[in-house]
Amino acid sequence: MSTSFLERVSAVSQRRLPFDARNDSLFGLLLAAPGVVLFLSFMLFPIAFLVYLSLTDATHAGTVIGGDATIVGLENYIELVTDAQFWTSLTVTWLFLAVSLAIKIVLGLGLAMLLTHARVIGKRYMRAVVIIPMGLPAIFIVTVWRGLFSGARFGPFNELLASYNDIITGVVGLFDQAVFFAAVSAPELLLVDLPISWLSGRWSAFLAYVMTEVWLAYPFMVIIIVSALQDVPMELHDAAKVDGAGYLYRFVHVTVPAVKRPVMFASILTAATSFQQFLIPWIFNGGGPSRQNELLIVYGYREAIELNQYAFASAIMVTAIAFIGLFMWLAVRKGDLAAGVNGA
């Protein structure tokens, strides 16, 4: 999945076997066909059906099956662009994507630099630990984080904040005793009002989504950046040091150019998955409160399965697929995908 992986693929030039070429072509096609047919029948065919549905007035599964649906043209799409919920959903989806991507890049870069730093002993073991979230099932991670964000008084994050409050009050209390002539009490500004019902507030729920998404996806970032950093020759840093370059200068002129392309590639891929994020909002609070945090796919899913608006939901999903297509185009244009295919 990493770029080096694709590079290695493209580096291998393949020779063909000396079987009869004309016959061979058919043989290869026959071997590859079952996989392609299976894939297309469960992926391309439903997409085509989805496009058809989005042009009808189907409301629930029964109307579709019973043949009661009639073609209404682009009516669903007109309804979609005039639906306020669509714009809320689209905005929050892009906001979620942007915020989580920014944090992922900063965290990934920081971790990768820390875990390739010469001063850190046992880097290899730490790198093995840091990518653990990648091997865990997504449903496991999301349900566990839902537990961490429990709104109960003794939920883990509320409990952590409670100890933070205790520390602040304690420090201020010490200060109060030291400066005996003035009555000092902990400033309300520094204290957190507990318990926080994380998933019932709009922005606290949004924050919870972002944190979970970052935790889900940062290992991928770290792996990509670490392998890019390891390709930077040490002499480059040494030469810069000899020339008297400071830490910041070396970061901007040595590290950043080395990781720019891999980070961009990884960003496109992880942004595409963030855009399609479904499990986090759905399991945390169903995209609430009051549908304010419904990411695009959740919006489409709810309209279909819960509100029985199949045709309308299909229009949403077709729109989402169009955006996903945009990401695919970006990945081909800016990423190394083409190199992997053409070289092999």
Binding site: Q14, G28, L29, M43, A61, W145, L269, T273, I297, L337
Partner: protein, 326 residues
Amino acid sequence: MNAIIAVLGSVISTVASWTRKKATWPLRVIHAVRLPVQQVRAGNRSVLDLAKTALGTGSALAVLAVLMFPLYWIFAASLSSGTGLMSTDGLFADPTTYNLDAYRWVLFESPFVDALRNSLVVVFVTVTVSMSVVIPGAYALSRHEFRGRKKILYGYVLFTQVGAGLSIATLIALYVLFNSVGLSNNLLVLGLFYAAGAVPFNTWLLKTFMDNIPVSYEEAAVIDGAGRWQVIREVILPLSKPGIAVVLVFTFLAGWNEFIVARTLLRPENYTLSVELYALATAGQYDTPWTQFSAFAMLFAMPVALIYFFAQSYVESGLSFGGMEG
């Protein structure tokens, strides 16, 4: 007799050296700590230098501890049945009260076993179906030139990297289609669907692996008079074993981990493990049975996580395998 003694001797010496290596790690740590201290005493190394290293390692460990907090929490919670978890006692229960009651509940009183059976049925279908199309497909894409080969590869890579959420987008259409033919509550159909979704990534992975098997082996077999099928059976398949093992793991995970399609299509009697885990997690707003949930989650995720990391390291070694020929 002598042979037996020789075998026994070698086994014992292997075990002994392994045990020594494992048992002496505290000594080696002490040595690793003592060495820099001696260096500082001898004046070969400045105290500042040593402090910098200690600071760097310490901060890396601290960051790691913060990042891994959720896992530690869920693990501790699964052992805290009947203790003061999520109460005034603090974030974690007293370690002396740790027990396995929650695990006992999951295994004997929860729907875990039934759900496990359903999951295994789904996974079995996913693995057999996808393996039977992935292996020939990967071989064809790696070794044969035919019309549309590049298009197929492009499609597979694009879907692998970008389109993972497409299955949710198409879920509406699938739901209608499956319902119309009465197949919505069917574990076999679900397994087939996962198999279809697993085709692109795994075909690509195995094709990459096969690309790294030198063609000269096949050429040698052809010169020795082997036919097309013989080459596949006696050269390609045996040499691809590590790659096939990895693909096996990934297709297994595809069936094991998925949640929302299963949740939408299945009825309660057919729920898989991931759906039951969700049901447990959302059982109530404030009275979620945390210890039971965490034991369930641990049993659901940890075995497959271990398999995953085993496979992941295999992917790396598998890819470097081809490098031996340059």
